[in-house]
């Protein structure tokens, strides 16, 4: 009996030691190759990290989101949240966004700002995607715009960039201290940023423009993630090596309100 117990203990100690060493090694490896999400803290962050790392290993840059036929476009396209209620946005909207500009900066070699017309002159694409909300509802719509990678190539992304961060006119994106930024900002990793289907969309369902409540004049569409990644009313795109100093450092405004940063699930 005693022999049995000590042998059992030996086996379990071995298993525990191997497990601990394995986890430690996996964590180091994961951090190096970018499999740790910004909101990996705490017990709930364990599940988030496992999900993000697994999806990053299963869903490659070549994995395409499902596309649909125009005949499948939903007659109802609900929205979440209201258009920006500030003077700046109202002024831009009153002039049909003629004075609107998208600034793209951060870890790029040529920080640039683009007018809506300049974006519309770039190579355009149309995609019919399904967009789902974490609440459970979804709709299918057609989005027209310029692939994000086209704009990234124009500004020249520096090799140390790891995130593309999106800020819209509905939040205090121009706060002097980025840590004070709150609201629906969001970020994606470079795998989604360079993905061919990630779109800066200025048209919905063939209208030639975005309805205001769907993010006019420009929103990003990240079709392999839930709708909250597709930030509306874009004002500014930032390339960064870390999101630790933006807002509360969790990678998105949603993560500050309890919603996971990774929205591929």
């Amino acid at each position: 009996m005693n022999e049995n117990i000590s042998r059992r203990r030996l086996i379990w100690t071995g298993v525990a030691a191997a497990g601990a060493a394995g986890l430690g090694g996996a964590a180091l490896f994961a951090k190096r190759v970018g499999l740790i999400p910004p909101d990996s803290h705490g017990l709930l962050g364990v599940g988030e990290t496992l999900t993000y790392a697994t999806q990053r290993l299963l869903v490659s840059e070549k994995t395409m989101a499902r596309e649909f036929n125009r005949s499948e476009i939903s007659s109802f396209a609900p929205i979440k949240g209201n258009p920006p209620e500030n003077e700046m946005y109202e002024r831009l909207r009153a002039k049909d966004f003629a004075d609107w500009r998208l600034s793209v900066g951060g870890l790029v070699s040529r920080a640039t700002s683009f007018s809506l017309d300049e974006l519309k002159r770039m190579p355009a694409e149309n995609h019919v995607f399904l967009q789902a909300c974490e609440e459970g509802w979804s709709f299918i719509a057609e989005w027209g715009g310029v692939p994000l990678h086209h704009v990234l190539n124009l500004v020249g992304v520096l090799p140390q960039a790891r995130y593309v961060v999106f800020f819209g006119y509905d939040i205090n994106y121009d706060a002097p201290n980025a840590r004070d930024i709150r609201g629906k900002w969001n970020s994606i990793d470079m795998s989604d940023a360079w993905h061919p289907q990630t779109l800066l969309a200025y048209s919905m369902n063939g209208l030639g423009e975005l309805p205001v409540e769907h993010g006019a004049p420009l929103r990003v569409r990240v079709p392999r993630q839930l709708g909250n990644k597709s930030v509306k009313y874009l004002a500014k795109i930032l390339l960064a090596d870390s999101v630790a100093n933006i807002g509360m450092g969790l990678g998105s405004g949603g993560a500050e309100r309890g919603y996971s940063w990774w929205s591929g699930i």
Binding site: T51, A65, F76, W137, F139, G264
Partner: protein, 237 residues
């Protein structure tokens, strides 16, 4: 225990005549892992559900589109965030616990020995004989009281090999990342919203299993059965 209405039928797995552990260490550890994760999944699933208690068929569905089912419960927003964190953490525990249970059990013959009905057992007569035991019409033979009966066997097979795999697949079918990499998982269920609807009904069937499971444990001696699942053998009360 003699006052128990079920004192005769409890012999379905009679703890009296068991000197050897009734459950292996593997079964005991993974049972409680999966029990904990199932409660996590159930609670967080409820938090996610109340954000949109409507179900659709096909790929898409939202407010404004006709649902096939609308649950008569109030819509409560704001919990789906940490509900989703908890749901996926629990799902990982459930998945890893499930794999840790199924693979060694396959290798060690647990399913073949304890779950696979024996020849001739899937027939009306033996099934009626078991039902008669449950209805207290007939006392079980001593052989019957030391092994899982055919109804238990079929139920465990359905839970382990049908309900849990399907609830995982329907869950994955709702993930835009997984749906991109493996679109056939979504197509299998007829679309993302169909998968969500099927997910809900599968969860309901698992809850039904849990309720019956707990009732049977209560009827056959709660502390003995729980003891058997914690330390391996149950003492008679």
């Amino acid at each position: 225990m003699s006052e128990s209405a079920y004192s005769e039928g409890r012999a379905i797995l009679d703890p009296k005549n068991l000197e050897v552990p009734q459950h292996s260490a593997l079964v005991r550890v993974t049972h409680w892992l999966n029990a904990a994760s199932f409660f996590g999944l159930l609670a967080s699933g409820g938090l996610i559900l109340i954000a949109h208690p409507r179900f659709y068929w096909g790929e898409a569905g939202a407010w404004g589109a006709p649902p096939i089912i609308q649950l008569p419960i109030p819509v409560i927003l704001g919990f789906s965030g940490w509900g989703r964190y908890l749901h996926f953490l629990s799902a990982w525990v459930c998945f890893l616990g499930g794999v840790a249970y199924v693979i060694p059990s396959l290798l060690m013959g647990h399913f073949r020995r304890d779950f696979l009905p024996e020849k001739g057992e899937i027939a009306w007569r033996p099934i009626w004989r078991i039902i008669a035991v449950y209805l207290h019409v007939r006392r079980p033979t001593s052989e019957e009281s030391t092994r899982y009966n055919v109804l238990q066997r079929l139920t465990y097979i359905a839970v382990v090999f049908v309900l849990f795999p399907l609830v995982f697949l329907t869950g994955l079918a709702m993930s835009p990342g997984i749906g991109s990499a493996f679109p056939f998982i979504v197509k299998m269920f007829g679309g993302e919203q169909s998968a969500r609807t099927v997910h809900f009904f599968l969860a309901g069937m698992l809850v039904l299993f849990l309720v019956v499971h707990l009732i049977m444990i209560g009827l056959t001696g709660f502390s003995a059965r729980v003891g058997a699942m914690i330390v391996g053998r149950g003492k008679d009360e």
